[in-house]
Amino acid sequence: MSVRFRLLLLIASTIILLPAVVVLALGMPAFGAHPLPYGDAINRDAPGQRHISNMVSAVNFDYRGFDTMGEEFMLVTAVTGAVMLLRGTRGESPGAEPEEVPGRSVQPAGEAIVLICRLMLPVSLLFGIYVVLHATATPGGGFQGGVIIASAVLLLYLGDGYRVWRSIVRSRLLHLCEGGAAAAFVLTGLVPMLLGHAFLENILPTGQFRDMLAGWLMQIENLAVAFAVAGGFAMLFLEFLEETRAPKGEE
């Protein structure tokens, strides 16, 4: 079918949908001024029930922790799939020797860049860990912190180059991060259940309000997410960067 035909279909759809969208926009509840019973109930009850100040984390890791478990596994599934696709025929063996792609000039990184990267690495790593740990108190948490940690590790590649990056970032370790974290998340559900409580019930003491480590079981789930996200994204960076190099011995 030609592009013109497709556009005709789209125009026809627009003619049907446009009035519907207008009616819908007019019928939507008033922006910023309609009741939100679910959110209000959480905002009202959670500080007392869970002793933590970040309501988003309370929803993510407690009230709707089961959703987060699903999301974490979705992440692991997507990363596993992407890694499988990228490895493909290349196999898993890391190219110990960095291959150079013909026609692509490889300049050794300037000293300033190496220095900046080496300086930035611990700083951003610390920042990532800080963000992870403050999930229950202030904005932040395993999802955001995990991405920051994975990006921090990427600075190794930018600064010290492929060889160092490959020798430090091992895919087996990343698999362990991801899989172990995912298993830990399921266990935070299963262990309370085996002890006679509900799946994912927060049976540990919840700690002091506004304390960094408040909400114990939530902290464990948060850490599991952080490890899974950091491991997953690092794995993605690793395998995608591997793609920019020609397979060994193909020249």
Binding site: S13, L24, Y38, G81, G88, L176, G189
Partner: protein
């Protein structure tokens, strides 16, 4: 362990095992992941059966994290296990067990990626069946999609990658539609729990936001269920995924889209008369169109997996017709049909896998007569074809009877004709394949000669019995249905449709059209016989028949173009049609 712990297990168990496999598979011997995965699937099957028994007294509600509703506000997520959901979990467990046994030794990579993805897939499908929370349903919908995307492209061949891309783009759109629908209904109701949402829908009837939410959710789920005009992605994905994966795609994933749609239509939106009337018309139209389009495309294919894929569209269309009646009887029939179809189609995809492994191909014309050494597989395929056509035995037939009776009671007796056509076309196509490959008939190919095909092969070092056992078991299970199953289904359906137990209907009187199943089987045999004996028929007749049929086939084949732009354009158009129809019915 007590029985009260059962509901989360069909999800938690496969997830835990998948995570452990991901971490440890590379240090274990090769066959360990195979064993563990098959045992996990078996465990899920038994959990499903236990839930089925325990839900007999009424649905079991399980609140995660012990967040039971307080002061009428639902804070957490719950599973609600009724017998229908438990039966679906059992079906999923059985199909995965069969698939893992069938794929024994098939995938030889170090990291057991196949097993990890399949276990995640199983967890997501089970969670989707049991959940009672709209966003949680979306989460499981996404997890199953993501696992399916990766599994489709598993073979890493160009075609499989293209099919994977088309599948991913279309089904990602489906999940965006669903999420938008969830957001809309949340803006009105401020809750995500099915029961609480049903209350909201009941209170604010006719609200355009709720109407739009329903349209988006319905479109999203019907994209997954591959109903016309959302069906375009399915043939590519099913034709090119590895055969053990196809077993799950056709047997469980596609029909679960429909299961989700009917669950929402009953349990959340059921109290709104406008939505109900709109859904009846839209579902009926899409069901009839899918049955016919799927059937016609099925009978004109030569790539066996693609042929089976189109038969799935046709049969899912029949199920959608069953849903569209919106009575307890119609829904009970649909559920039985889903279970029976899952088992039969799973078995048929396994026979296709056997062909791929032993004959080194999947092209019907290229394989003519090559199946003579593997006669048992031929018997299984013929049996599956007869069941698809509607032979009067087994679960599918009980489902058909219920749907036909319900349709007649609702004054739509004519849909029986559509169902006969669908069954005859798809059953006839499978019988033709059987005759050509296993008996060497049909030297002169017909219209199917013009359909796309591709060379393909799967690991051939597996013993035949290992592949045949799960295939035969699935067929046997679909046949092992006592006649009381209809009464059982009618009783099980009441909590699913939210009807009070008092409205329980008496089991239907035996259908007055006892000849109908035989008519379908006769028609299917006729179609197969016509296609296989073309060289013996008068040339004039053949030429006339071809000339009248060819334009239709060409048109339909051009529609399934393999271009993602076309697919998405049709999805948008389909959404517009769904929204337009339902809005129109709301105004009138």
């Amino acid at each position: 362990m007590t029985a009260a712990m059962l509901p989360p297990l069909p999800v938690a168990l496969p997830m835990l095992i998948a995570a452990v496999l991901l971490t440890l598979a590379h240090v274990w011997p090769r066959r360990v992941p195979d064993t563990i995965a098959a045992l996990t699937a078996l465990a899920v099957t038994s959990i499903g059966l236990l839930l089925l028994l325990r839900a007999a007294g009424g649905p079991i509600t399980y609140w995660f994290g012990q967040w039971e509703p307080r002061d009428g506000v639902v804070l957490g997520i719950s599973f609600q296990v009724d017998q229908v959901g438990a039966a679906m979990v059992t079906l999923i467990g059985i199909l995965f067990t069969g698939s893992f046994v069938f794929a024994w030794g098939f995938f030889d990579e170090v990291h057991a990626v196949f097993h990890v993805l399949m276990l995640m897939f199983m967890a997501a499908l089970s969670g989707f069946c049991l959940t009672h929370d709209l966003f949680n349903m979306f989460v499981w919908f996404e997890v199953m999609s993501v696992a399916a995307f990766a599994l489709t492209a598993y073979r890493l061949e160009a075609s499989a990658l293209e099919a994977g891309l088309n599948f991913t783009v279309t089904n990602s759109l489906a999940s965006f539609f669903m999420l938008a629908g969830i957001a809309l209904i949340y803006s009105i109701g401020g809750t995500l729990d099915f029961s609480a949402l049903a209350g909201v829908v009941g209170r604010s009837g006719g609200n355009p936001v709720i109407l739009a939410s329903f349209c988006l959710l319905l479109a999203g789920l019907l994209i997954k269920a591959a109903m016309v005009p959302f069906q375009l992605w399915l043939a590519d994905a099913h034709a090119l995924a590895p055969s053990p994966v196809c077993v799950i795609f056709s047997g469980a994933m596609v029909t679960l889209g429909l299961y989700g749609a009917s669950k929402l239509a009953w349990q959340v939106f059921g109290s709104d008369p406008v939505i109900r009337a709109g859904a009846q018309h839209v579902m009926l139209a899409m069901g009839v169109a899918s049955t016919i389009v799927g059937g016609v495309m099925c009978v004109t294919q030569r790539h066996v997996k693609r042929l089976l894929a189109f038969s799935t569209i046709s049969h899912t269309g029949i199920m959608l017709i069953g849903c569209s009646i919106f009575t307890a009887q119609g829904q009970a029939g649909t559920v039985l049909y889903m279970l029976g179809h899952g088992l039969v189609k799973g078995a048929l995809f396994m026979t296709a896998g056997i062909l791929l492994a032993t004959c080194g191909g999947i092209d019907e014309i290229g394989l003519r007569g090559l199946g003579r050494q593997i006669r048992p597989a031929g018997i299984a395929m013929a049996g599956g074809g007869l069941l698809l056509a509607g032979a009067p035995v087994g679960l599918m037939q009980h489902g058909t009877t219920l749907i036909e009776t319900a349709a007649a009671a609702a004054g739509r007796g004519w849909v029986a004709g559509v169902m006969i056509l669908g069954g005859a076309l798809t059953g006839g196509a499978v019988l033709r394949v059987t005759g050509r490959i296993f008996l060497g008939l049909g030297a002169l190919p017909g219209e199917e000669d013009r359909s796309p095909t591709e060379a393909e092969q799967e690991a051939s070092d597996r013993p035949l019995w290992l592949m045949l056992t799960p295939c035969a078991s699935l067929l046997a299970l679909s046949l092992a249905a006592p006649s009381s199953v209809e009464t059982f289904a009618l009783r099980a359906i009441t909590p699913f449709i939210g009807a009070p137990a008092a409205s329980l209907q008496s089991p239907p009187a035996a259908s007055s059209h006892d000849y109908l199943p035989w008519l379908t089987v006769m028609l299917a045999l006729l179609i197969a016989a016509y296609d296989l004996s073309r060289q013996h028929l008068p040339g004039m007749l053949i030429a006339a028949a071809d000339a009248s049929f060819r334009p239709l086939h060409a048109l339909l084949e051009a529609w399934h173009s393999g271009l993602v732009g076309d697919y998405v354009a049709w999805i948008v158009f389909g959404l517009a049609l769904v929204a337009g129809c339902i809005t129109w019915l709301a105004i009138v």
